[in-house]
Amino acid sequence: MKKRMMSLPSFSRFHILAALTLAGVAAPLLAAPADAVRARIAGYKHLGAAFKAVNDGLRRPSPDKAELLGAARTIRQSAAQQYKWFPRGSGPQAGVKTAAKAAIWTDPVKFKQAQDAFAAKAVALERAVASGDAGAIRSASRSLGATCKGCHDQFRSES
């Protein structure tokens, strides 16, 4: 009887320890998709604001080259970062609200091609801005926008 009374607390401690360990491991796993989606949304908002700055700047009679350059640089940097914005497990699933389509993960080659196209056009935009040629900037901006649209059409749901 004494032995049983002695073993019960240690048995309970084991279970508590196990539960805490599991919780410690599981909690980040459960939080990860939502965190990834939040980071992705923040990244795209930052990118979108920079793209808006470029287009707003182009509509002005005398675009501010420094402002355009800053925005173009942000776009290029975001384009480089976007490869990290879609970790496996951050797609559509129960409890996670995301516009990202499952095709991003089921057709990674095609998605990578779309990301590469965007990244290339982002570099081209920065070059065009550096040239100071408004026509070239507008053309590069539209080419970049086309890659955005192409990706959205294929890989983003309408939610």
Binding site: G48, F51, K52, N55, D56, R59, A99, S139, S141, R142, S143, L144, G145, A146, C148, K149, G150, H152, D153, R156, S157, E158, S159
Partner: protein, 159 residues
């Protein structure tokens, strides 16, 4: 009362904004001089303009309703006026796609007249906003932002 103001401000405008969200139509450039890439870029530019209008209109509706503080009144009305001013140029290229109906271009005289009025009225809205005239802005919401009227005629329903 608040909800009616928000409704008046936003019903059409939210609809206007949704024009820009998830438009999946192919950029089937009617103007053969425009490449598909450029056409997609033009459509994406239109989408972004409408998305910005949606966001701004939602915020303006909330300011008018007293849900949000009026300290952003000048900024948001200015942003609306800028987007409105850019809208005509964005639709000028004959590039069907997204949710724009072909009537945009086949009835261009009417459509562009509406956009001219949109630009003119939102400029006045921005002038009132710059003065901090919330009552004046609120009184103009219905007339300056007749988004639904336009969408009913020129926008494809959401699929």
């Amino acid at each position: 009362m608040k909800s009616r103001i928000v409704l008046a401000a936003c019903t059409g405008l939210v609809a206007l904004g949704t024009l820009s969200i998830g438009l999946t139509g192919t950029a089937d450039a009617a103007d053969t001089a425009i490449s598909k890439e450029e056409a997609d870029g033009i459509i994406f530019e239109r989408q972004n303009l409408m998305l910005q209008l949606e966001k701004d209109a939602e915020l303006l509706g909330e300011i008018a309703a007293g849900i949000k503080p009026a300290d952003q009144l000048a900024e948001v009305t200015r942003s609306i006026a800028e987007s409105a001013a850019a809208s005509k140029a964005a639709f000028e290229p004959r590039v069907p796609g997204g949710r724009s109906k072909p009537e945009v271009w086949s009835n261009w005289a009417d459509y562009s007249q509406r956009l001219d009025a949109f630009e003119r009225d939102t400029r006045q809205l921005a002038e009132l906003g710059a003065k901090g005239d919330l009552a004046g802005v609120t009184g103009m919401l219905g007339s300056a932002l007749p988004c639904k009227e336009c969408h009913d005629v020129y926008r494809e329903p959401k699929k």
